[in-house]
């Protein structure tokens, strides 16, 4: 195929999900010529028009709007003595694709971590006696203060029309919200979503046991919303087709509803779909990038020169692209030298399913984020040091989706045939869940690198993930099991089932957890232990910026999207205010 060289642009953005669309609009508003390249396809309203998304088999079972393993497989192993094998079918996580990325079909829980979560290393040094935690744990602080990042959380929350109850307004604790949240400069933009029966029951039981529940902060909006870009988000109608589905009602904040329509009007922005970026090309001195190479829809190899390169693909593929392009030194787990690939982390889930013969939960009526949660079991808010582990979880009861194939059935119900149908008839709409979403710390020997054996369809090495559960995370699971068990007992169901990781459990790649993979190209204060500075700028190649979950040095219990939005907006502001005037490292090491 032909080799094409395009006209130079100010900014090339690789990946048009949340991070890519936010970077694009912010930099285009500053007058820069911005061109975005998206590996997947175009995805626009006609694809989501009612009633097309109401198809559980296509979207929830067959992952209709996800990337396929054929396109973006990674290899996985438990430890560095093993040979990793490729993911031929998604299980624990499932990356998005196309315009909007996973932001098009996320669950839309939009929540901040606590100030302690962001300064975890400082907390550990203050609260834990030496020797209590595992020696190989490598947690770090995020390289900014709460005061620095707070305005960007709020800005992203305005973009999304965040709906929920305010818990801490400028230091004042307010009823109905999360008393553990960091001080907010402004209240939530919109009121919380409506509660469902499971929420009410969970809230009552948790409150009785001394916890502080509050409505899940949501980017499925509760009222008609117009965001700072002028884009509109419609009030959610609780249709039940949410996580893993595109919203048929313009109700979920996504790159499509919150950014793209305003962005597409800008004459200095353009984008191309089915454009697969394979490499960032560096100048000879390796200090700056001169552009990117991608393959277009016709298979042509295209060079797109650019003054600034933004890598805004999913976390795993940002790390891979850095490794393939020689941006930053690859991490070596033996010597602990190098930065690209270190501090990879995932998360764990679990919980209880409670069955009640006499209660109708109307589980078909739900937004992805419908639910109540509490943050009492997060670092700094309970006696982690006394219990001998670091971490926590948000403990929540989110309205289970009422789509029939996803309906929970009591243990022992056949999974097919007449028995399955009878079980479904008897138990559909009669169950609720209490769930956990946990932290996951980073460790010396948990990391990402390029696989020596497996390659993609272009012959480039796949990304290799070396990951398994550590004792710290399994101890946390045991503690959470007790708490969830007590709440369940309080609710007194007719029957229930529990699912928690036992001590000694291995990572199960086959069961879905969540696509909250983080780290691998983390932000920090020290170029020896981080790939990016606090403006998501590569320490080594100063015109490359890498927004995404890859920047988290470990995973907190809060869902990642609010933080990805905030750090991306902070980086965009730094580019506009400082980098354009004086291109070079924004932080002196």
């Amino acid at each position: 195929m032909a080799q094409i060289t395009k006209k130079e642009v100010d900014v090339v953005v690789c990946g048009l999900g949340w991070a890519g669309s936010l970077m694009s609009i912010e930099l285009a508003m500053a007058g820069l010529d911005v061109r975005a390249l998206e590996r997947g396809g175009e995805r626009d309203y006609p694809d989501f028009a009612y009633p097309k998304p109401a198809d559980e088999y296509a979207y929830n079972v067959r992952n209709k709007v996800f990337a396929t393993p054929k396109e973006v497989a990674v290899t996985v192993r438990y430890n560095s003595s093993q040979t990793a094998l490729p993911t031929r079918k998604w299980g624990a996580f499932a990356p998005g694709t196309g315009v909007g990325g996973a932001g098009m079909h996320w669950t839309a829980v939009l929540i901040r971590p606590t100030p302690t979560d962001l300064k975890l290393k400082t907390y550990v040094d203050e609260a834990y006696k030496p020797g209590i935690l595992q020696e190989d744990m490598r947690v770090m602080d995020f390289p900014f203060t709460w005061e620095e990042i707070e305005p960007y959380y709020y800005k992203f929350e305005l973009i999304c029309g965040q709906s929920g109850n305010t818990g801490n307004l400028r230091g004042q604790i307010l009823p109905g919200g999360d008393p553990f949240e960091g001080p907010r400069s402004e209240p939530y933009p919109l009121p919380a979503l409506e509660d469902t029966l499971n929420n009410v029951m969970f809230k009552e039981a948790a409150t009785k046991l001394g916890y502080h529940p509050f409505p899940n902060p949501s980017a499925c909006v509760s009222r008609a919303w117009k965001n700072p870009y002028g884009n509109q988000i419609a009030p959610c109608n609780y249709c039940g087709y949410c996580s893993k589905y595109p919203c048929l009602n313009y109700s979920k904040a996504s790159p499509q509803t919150a950014v793209m329509d305003a962005l597409k009007r800008m004459p200095n922005f353009s984008y191309e779909v089915h454009a697969e970026v394979v490499k960032v090309v560096l100048h000879d001195d390796q200090k700056t990038a001169k552009g990117v190479i991608y393959y277009d829809v016709d298979g042509n190899e295209v060079f797109q020169p650019a003054k600034i390169v933004v890598l805004s693909s999913f976390q795993l593929y940002n790390v891979r692209l850095m490794l393939l392009s020689g941006i930053g030194k690859p991490y070596n787990p033996i010597t602990e030298e190098g930065v690209v690939g270190r501090n990879y982390a995932f998360l764990s889930n679990g919980g209880a399913t409670l069955f009640f013969k006499d209660k109708n939960f109307n589980s078909y009526a739900t937004a992805g984020a419908t639910g109540q949660m509490f943050n009492d079991i997060s670092p700094g808010n309970f006696d982690g040091p006394g219990l001998g582990f670091l971490g926590g979880a948000k403990i929540h009861s989110s309205q289970a989706t009422g789509t029939p194939m996803a309906a929970a059935l009591p243990k022992g119900t056949p999974s097919w045939g007449m028995g399955y149908k009878e079980g479904l008839e008897e138990w559909y709409n009669h169950s609720m869940k209490i769930s956990i979403t946990t932290t996951c710390q980073s460790y010396r020997d948990i990391y990402l690198d390029l696989d020596p054996n497996y390659t993609d369809h272009r012959g480039q090495p796949l990304l290799r993930m070396t990951f398994n559960w550590k004792e710290n995370e399994l101890k946390l699971q045991q503690h959470l099991k007790g708490i969830v068990g007590n709440i369940a007992k309080e609710l007194n169901p007719d029957s229930m089932s529990m699912s928690f990781l036992p001590m000694g459990a291995d990572f199960d790649l086959t069961k879905y957890v969540s696509t909250h993979n983080v780290g691998g190209a983390v932000m920090g204060d020290n170029p020896k232990t981080s790939a990016l500075n606090k403006y998501l700028q590569s320490w080594d190649v100063h015109n490359v910026f890498v927004p995404g979950g890859n920047a988290f040095p470990q995973n907190f219990q809060a869902n990642p999207t609010d933080t990805i939005g905030a750090i991306t907006l902070m980086a965009a502001q730094a580019i506009k205010e400082h980098y354009l005037k004086n291109p070079g490292p924004l932080v002196q090491a």
Partner: protein, 418 residues
Amino acid sequence: MKLKSLLIANAVLLGSFALQAHAEDEAQLIKQGEYLSRLGDCMACHTVSGKGDYAGGLAIESNLGTIYSTNITPDKEHGIGNYSEQQFSDAVRKGVLPDGSRLYPAMPYPDYAKISDADMHALYVYFMKGVKPSSEQPPETDLSFPFSQRWGMRFWNWAFTSDKPFQPIGGASEEVNRGAYIVESLGHCGSCHTPRGLGMNEKALDSGDDQFLAGGSLSSWDVPSLRGLPRWSEQEIVDYLQTGRNDKAAVGGEMKSVIEHSSSHMTDADLKAIAAYLKFLGGNPPLQAYNVQKQQATEAKLTAAKGLSEGERLYIDNCGACHFVTGKGAPGIFPELDQATIVNARDPGGLIHTILAGAQQPSTEKAPSTLAMPGFAKRLDDDQVAKLATFIRQGWSNNAPAVTKDQVAEVRKTLKGE
């Protein structure tokens, strides 16, 4: 010697000031003319997307046959590059071309007749110097006899047009008069919103007559009266014209293009003037009043979802997700169905068309979201659409006649590949 060179220098300086001032005047005129062309919505008819601006060639379906818009770029061969200012003015204001032939009144010259001389001048400068020439040759308009006889338009013009310039409304504020000028002249709102007479003429051309802007009919859509717009506040009129949406309604039909190409580009002051003028006009037709008992009864029945009629069930299955059981939709996003003009229109054509083909908001500067309603033509048959539309026309406060499946079939025939 010194003095002399100083004088020369001064003269040169003054000369260049004069030139610069002239260039600035012209740039200012071009800018002004460009804005006026937006007020006049010249682009809607004289531009086909993908071809050059104002290169013409848009097919305009009329009762007489298909009329093609012309190239009005300053190209000397294919456009209007050879027009003098007087010839340009005669074409725009009188519908007379330099060779004496007559334009069809698809070109709204009966309204444009009221454009002020100063505005005509700015428009001329813009079309001569601010528009890129295009050598595009649009198809010839070829109507059947007797409409092919353009000379006949002479008599139409004699009977139905006026060469009276714009007359300010005595006693009204400057703002109302600014609004009146835009609406009556460049805005040519009357060409759709004023009822047409037997000769397809607008029955009235200015606010002196109660028929002016009293509503009309256009390709089976009832065109609403603009006189006073009693359900909308002035701000809601401004929002609608600026963005195609307000807290009650969303644009549909031909008006979408007007908002996209014309009114969304107007200044806030001009939009406010238009709103003030429309509010100033009296003679509103009787309205569908808000009926709280009836509204609540419909809401309660849809909420309980027991003993539903087929129309009610179809509403819940297809419409309720966005317009809700209240029929109120969501402000600025999903339009209200309760009391809506399109729902209660005498002719249900607009409502049927919207159910079958859907609708989509234009992207405008102040409201970029291109919110769409899907079309239900493939999902619902004529009988179902009739039952659904009948429910909508009679649910909540609404009280309009039932819709028949034959009416739906008629509208379905007009859908183009939708």
